[in-house]
Symmetry: C2
Subunit: 167 residues, 2 copies
């Protein structure tokens, strides 16, 4: 059971539909606060489900979503500093540090000195890293498909567009 589908049912929170602290437009009974319908709750659930699918499908390659993304971006970049890689992959410096370290530990990525800027070390994919990424991309396509499986073609395009807009 990779994706535990919890069967919660929405319950009105009438507790909070009192006149004092609720903004005007929430006097509408449909404005009752239902946690399960909030964007944040749904995003957390969807992200969890995707992570579960990812780890299962990518198990053979032993890559997490962030590790995979970072590896792909290192390959695309050729040479890239760690902070820049973080910006490319939407990870802050504290996070990319650990991700990069694990990739380096596994010899999927190597570090090189930048004689132009002694603060940085440049990351470069190794041959093993490129080979692993080539295999992992096949799994990654399947992961995206499995993640979007509950939606039809139009809905997949819609969701992708909406999430991009949410940026």
């Amino acid at each position: 059971m990779t994706v535990p589908l919890y069967g919660f049912r929405p319950v009105r929170l009438e507790l909070f539909v009192s006149q004092s602290e609720v903004p005007p437009q929430a006097a509408d009974p449909l404005g009752a606060y239902i946690v399960e319908n909030q964007a944040g709750f749904l995003l957390r659930r969807a992200h969890q489900r995707h992570a579960s699918i990812f780890l299962e499908t990518m198990a053979a390659h032993d890559l997490t979503p962030t590790q995979f993304t970072a590896l792909i971006k290192v390959i695309e970049s050729g040479r890239v500093t760690q902070n820049r890689l973080g910006r490319l992959t939407a990870m802050d410096p504290a996070t990319i540090q650990g991700v990069a370290r694990r990739l380096v530990d596994r010899d999927l990525v190597s570090r090189a000195l930048d004689p132009m800027d002694r603060r940085t070390t440049v990351l470069i994919a190794t041959d093993a890293g490129i080979a692993l990424a080539a295999r992992a991309v096949v799994a990654a396509r399947a992961i995206t498909a499995a993640t979007l499986a509950p939606l039809d073609d139009d809905e997949r395009i819609q969701l992708t567009a909406l999430l991009r807009k949410l940026g």
Copy 2:
């Protein structure tokens, strides 16, 4: 800068558009693998952005998204065991354990023994917990609005529906 909007631009990964490991339909040049357009990447980004908005807006109440959700669900439930609360809030037992402990530590929730089942402890919201939740829900409405701010009304409804379907 609560929401670091990294300006990455999609780059084709022609590296992987070789005939060997790419499935048939990916011979289409549009099938090139672009990490930034994958559902997983977009979900991670959207979830990060929401979490950032949440923590900033909820700072006065010092509640994380999971703590807030758990508190609301304890209030709605009246009495609830920890594992059941986990199912209601989409958190596994190991995760809900820490969330519940932090709520109990802050006296927002209290534990009670269940004479019917000595394995469990029942969680009940305290008066302080109910009062805090009442204030926090106001912030929570603003958080949902801010999260969905880049979208117009139709798009917000679409996104919510699509994420629910993804569930």
